[in-house]
Amino acid sequence: MVKLVYFAWVRERIGKGEEELELPAHVKTAGDLIAYLTTLGEEYENALQFPQAIRVAVNQEHVEHDEPLTGAGEIGLFPPMTGG
């Protein structure tokens, strides 16, 4: 099981802030995860339809979409950041 956490409009569109999921074996990278999640329902599709706008963090560190999810306990998905 991996813990997924969502923020900002990704959280609003999916309709929850976090959940635990068993990921299929073919989900190896952050990009694979986004593609897999869009198959889980309309709300996921709506949140993640533009993958290039989605940022991913594994264990609270930024990763690129082609990076592996090896050792991931917590994965965050969120839009580009607008702090400061």
Partner: protein, 154 residues
């Protein structure tokens, strides 16, 4: 020489620039320059009742700390403080503080500038607008100009 550790805080409550600045400089004679930046909640159109800042608890602090450690090492800073607020913040209120200290001004200017450029594009915070008329506001969009500002340090 060991690098100083940055002081990083992610909090809802307000901060005081002079208190934080003095905490970096009190009792020291080696600091020649203090550069500070304070970012405020801005309402250009006069329609905003507040910005709501959402953050990724844990990662927000960790990411600002990673950026701060890079800034200290790269510019040989003597000290660095970064405070970022979350929650509802009204126009005119303070959102973010960065203070960099160094022996000379250039390193302090560069350190604070680097810190803000990376903080804006890498620290996990998101701003949502709340409007005066009570209608639902939008999430603030990320700006390409912020990415370009960061990329000049690469």
């Amino acid at each position: 020489m060991t690098c100083p550790a940055p002081t990083i805080r992610v909090q809802h409550q307000d901060f005081d620039l002079s208190t934080e600045s003095r905490a970096l400089t009190d009792g020291r004679a080696d600091i020649g320059a203090v550069v500070s930046f304070v970012g405020l909640c801005r309402d250009e159109a006069g329609t905003l009742s507040a910005l709501e800042l959402e953050h990724y608890p844990g990662m927000a602090e960790a990411e600002i700390r990673r950026i701060g450690e890079q800034a200290i090492a790269r510019f040989d800073l003597l000290g660095l403080t970064a405070i970022h607020r979350f929650g509802k913040i009204a126009p005119g209120e303070q959102i973010v503080l960065v203070i960099a200290t160094a022996p000379h001004r250039q390193a302090a200017f560069d350190g604070a500038n680097f810190m803000m450029d990376y903080l804006k594009t890498s620290a996990p915070f998101w701003k949502k607008e709340h409007r005066k008329d009570g209608t639902a506001g939008d999430w603030v969009s990320a700006k390409d100009a912020d990415d370009h500002a960061r990329d000049k340090w690469r």
